[in-house]
Amino acid sequence: MSSIHIKLKDKDCQTIKEICESFNNDPGELINILHKAQEHFGYLPAEVQETIAQNLNISVAKVYGVVTFYSFFSMTPKGKHPISVCTGTACYVRGAEKVLEELKKELKISVGETTPDGKFSLSCLRCVGACGLAPVVMIGDKTYGRVAPEDVKKIIEEYNS
């Protein structure tokens, strides 16, 4: 997993400390703690994981092992407009793959990447439960249903203006 490096400010370390304390510094709550930290920082850079490990008194390798196990956790910041394509079965049989290909072509990035300008990031989701609207693309909190590959350009333009 590639990662970018940041320097944590004292304030950030304090936030992490508080998150850990809110879970009694219990290593059993690691996943909940990571959720909170990701909510706060937007992603989980190495330094954040390191600080969590110190607070919980567990090895940072263990934290990293957990972070890399779960697809919800990310070590790279998402774009300003995170794009998620549902690749659940219902969306698959209704052409999600072609929509994904089109998005990759349009944004010139692959899944898991962010555009150089930090505007868009692309990821896949397993079923957002809007199977009736398949294929579904989410940009931020907004859901686009029945998306055809031809629609991709137009949708992206909404965010480019």
Partner: protein, 597 residues
């Protein structure tokens, strides 16, 4: 109170929410207020109606008018025409796909006719964020009955007698599971609700949690009473924000009303429930993996025994059931084991919720009695295949299941029949495929999922599934051999036979079932390099119809690899060796002279 003469139920499930049902509800309220009708007509945001295909849904009570695809702008017309003048808004009514007629109310919809709603009894009926509506519908009455009238063993006996089996996939008898956990003595035990619904294309658990969270909370408390646990944990996907929100509200309200917490109903029994979040790992649906995940570890399954009922969460006896299983419990307690077991088949009692999706007219969530046939589900409830195409297969059981064909359409659906047919019940995903779906590609799609979701702990699953995927990919690329088909089968068998957990033990099912049911299609891919569904890009052939081609050269100019040659005003030709099958020529041709073979 009695002046309220109408209710407008607006679906607040995730599907409808993402097509703006909250805004619809808002507009309706605004319109009602504008006409001074707010006391006569109430807008209620409910859980999912199941009919997601046509969302957002607004249902008018008491006449059961079922409005589909309602936009916020439609609110004015609904209020002014229907509510005030009693005239239904025809254009928003559901159109029957077969008869092409508007259906006046839900009672006349094929979609609902054959359904029996037990687990979904309150979904689309009550406001899930209001415990009072749940209580009015008997919530916590079953818990009250258990705590005051029945011993734990008596409750277990009722569940055993009802024949309820786990709805999460395995189909293990719920009563027996509870009994084992009850018998393992310990100072602390746990009840865990598995809400880590991960099957791509299944969302029944989420619908229950979003539409009727109290039924799950109540059932967990009942389970706690039976096995001697006072703590419950719900392991829920972090990707379900709405369900999480509603669960939190429900837990808070239940605590306030005293139906959860300490000394419930003054009986001395206490039960507390906490939420734990999943983080995107399908394998955590496996109960040992789920427990490790709740303990803050990598969600890697461990060998059973020991079963969670012996040593589960934090090493303590733990009973894990899935959401739908729990949702069935309160009605069984209230209405009796006989009532429940009168529904269903010999060995599969009650109902099952399915998420119907794919190439079908009525996509949505349905609850049907066990023993119903696939034909009834697909062609009656589901309204048949979309766009009048031909039915090809139905995939049940998600990535662990298999593809069933026309020959299985009249098989009664239950745990054992599906297993015998080479698929499984799974959590209830049901994806319908038509003639445009390539079965090799479908198997590949599921394997891609498994490869990504395998935890990597045991070698057959970690490497074997990857190799299965690679062989399938090779076949869809037109590079497969007959020997590959043999290897696929052997490898599939070995992975099933040797994998550590349920994920690997069932992951080859999509391969095996398609190999069995669609052998010809595999052979075609291998020997004729042909994909009859036209889905495998590498096997597509773009050919110019010499009769239709006028030699305009548009295609030749569009071809990025110069595979098209021909004189101006003469029929052109595509060199198949050079063609990269990008389809650019096909799109450019104005004379429909290029066809795909």
């Amino acid at each position: 109170m009695s002046t309220v003469k109408m209710h407008l139920l607006v679906c607040g499930g995730t599907g409808c929410v993402s097509s703006y049902s909250p805004q619809v509800a808002e507009s309706l309220i605004k319109e009602l207020e504008a006409h001074g009708l707010q006391d006569e007509c109430k807008v209620v945001k409910t859980g999912c109606f199941g009919f997601c295909e046509q969302g957002p849904i607004v249902k008018v009570i008491p006449d059961n008018t079922f409005y589909t695809k309602v936009a916020p702008e439609d609110a004015k017309e609904i209020i002014e025409e229907h509510i005030i003048k009693g005239r239904k808004v025809d254009r928003l009514l559901y159109t029957d796909p077969k008869k092409q007629e508007h259906v006046p109310d839900s009672k006349h919809m094929e979609f609902y006719k054959k359904q029996i709603r037990i687990a979904l009894r309150n979904c689309g009926f009550i406001d899930p964020e209001n415990i009072e509506e749940a209580i009015a519908r008997d919530a916590y009455s079953a818990l009250g009955k258990c705590l005051t009238e029945l011993t734990p063993q008596e409750v277990i006996d009722i569940i055993k007698k009802s024949g309820l089996r786990g709805r999460g996939g395995g189909g293990f008898p719920t009563g027996i599971k509870w009994e084992i956990a009850a018998k393992n003595a310990s100072d602390q035990k746990y009840v865990v609700c598995n809400a880590d619904e991960g099957d791509p294309g299944a969302f029944m658990d989420r619908s229950v949690l979003e539409g009727d969270p109290h039924s799950v909370l109540e059932a967990m408390a009942i389970c706690g009473y039976c096995i001697g646990a006072n703590k419950g944990l719900i392991y829920i996907r972090a990707e379900y924000p709405l369900a999480i929100k509603r669960l939190k509200i429900a837990i808070k309200q239940a605590m306030e009303y005293g139906v959860l917490g300490d000394d419930i109903f003054g009986t001395g029994f206490s039960f507390h429930i906490e939420l734990r979040y999943g983080a995107g790992a399908f394998v955590c649906g496996e109960e040992t993996a789920l427990i490790h995940s709740m303990e803050g570890q990598r969600g890697e399954p461990t060998v059973k025994p020991p079963f969670p009922a012996e040593a589960g969460y934090l090493g303590k006896p733990t009973n894990v059931n899935n959401v739908e299983t729990f949702a069935n419990v309160p009605p069984i307690i209230l209405k009796g084991a006989e009532w429940f077991s009168s529904i269903g088949t010999e060995r599969s009692k009650g109902t099952k919720v399915f998420a119907l999706a794919g190439k079908i007219n009525n996509v949505g969530l349905i609850e049907v009695p066990m023993g119903i046939t696939l034909r009834e589900v697909i062609f009656e409830i589901g309204g048949g295949i979309k766009n009048g195409k031909k039915f090809k297969a139905v995939q049940t059981g998600g990535p662990s299941g298999g593809c069933l064909t026309e020959t299985h359409l009249d098989t009664p659906i239950d745990f054992d029949n599906l297993l015998a047919a080479g698929s499984m019940m799974g959590s209830g995903g049901m994806i319908v495929m038509d003639e445009d779906d390539c079965m090799v590609s479908i198997a590949k799609f599921f394997l891609e999922f498994t490869v990504e979701e395998s935890c990597g702990k045991c070698s057959p699953c970690r490497i074997g599934n990857k190799r299965l995927y690679e062989i399938l990919d090779k076949i869809t690329q037109g590079k497969g051999t007959m020997e590959d088909l043999e290897l696929l089968r052997n490898l599939s068998e070995v992975i099933k036979d040797t994998s550590l957990c349920g994920l690997g033990q069932s992951s080859p099912n999509p391969v095996l079932s398609t190999l069995t049911n669609f052998w010809d299609e595999y052979v075609e891919h291998v020997t004729e390099k042909k994909c009859r569904a036209g889905q495998c890009t590498a096997l597509k052939k773009y050919i110019i119809d010499e009769e239709a081609c006028v030699g305009c050269t548009a295609c030749a100019r569009a071809c990025p690899v110069n595979a098209i040659s021909g004189e101006r005003k003469m029929p052109h030709n595509i060199n198949q060796d050079i063609c990269i099958k990008c389809g650019a020529c096909y799109e450019k041709c104005k004379f429909n002279a290029i066809f795909i073979k």
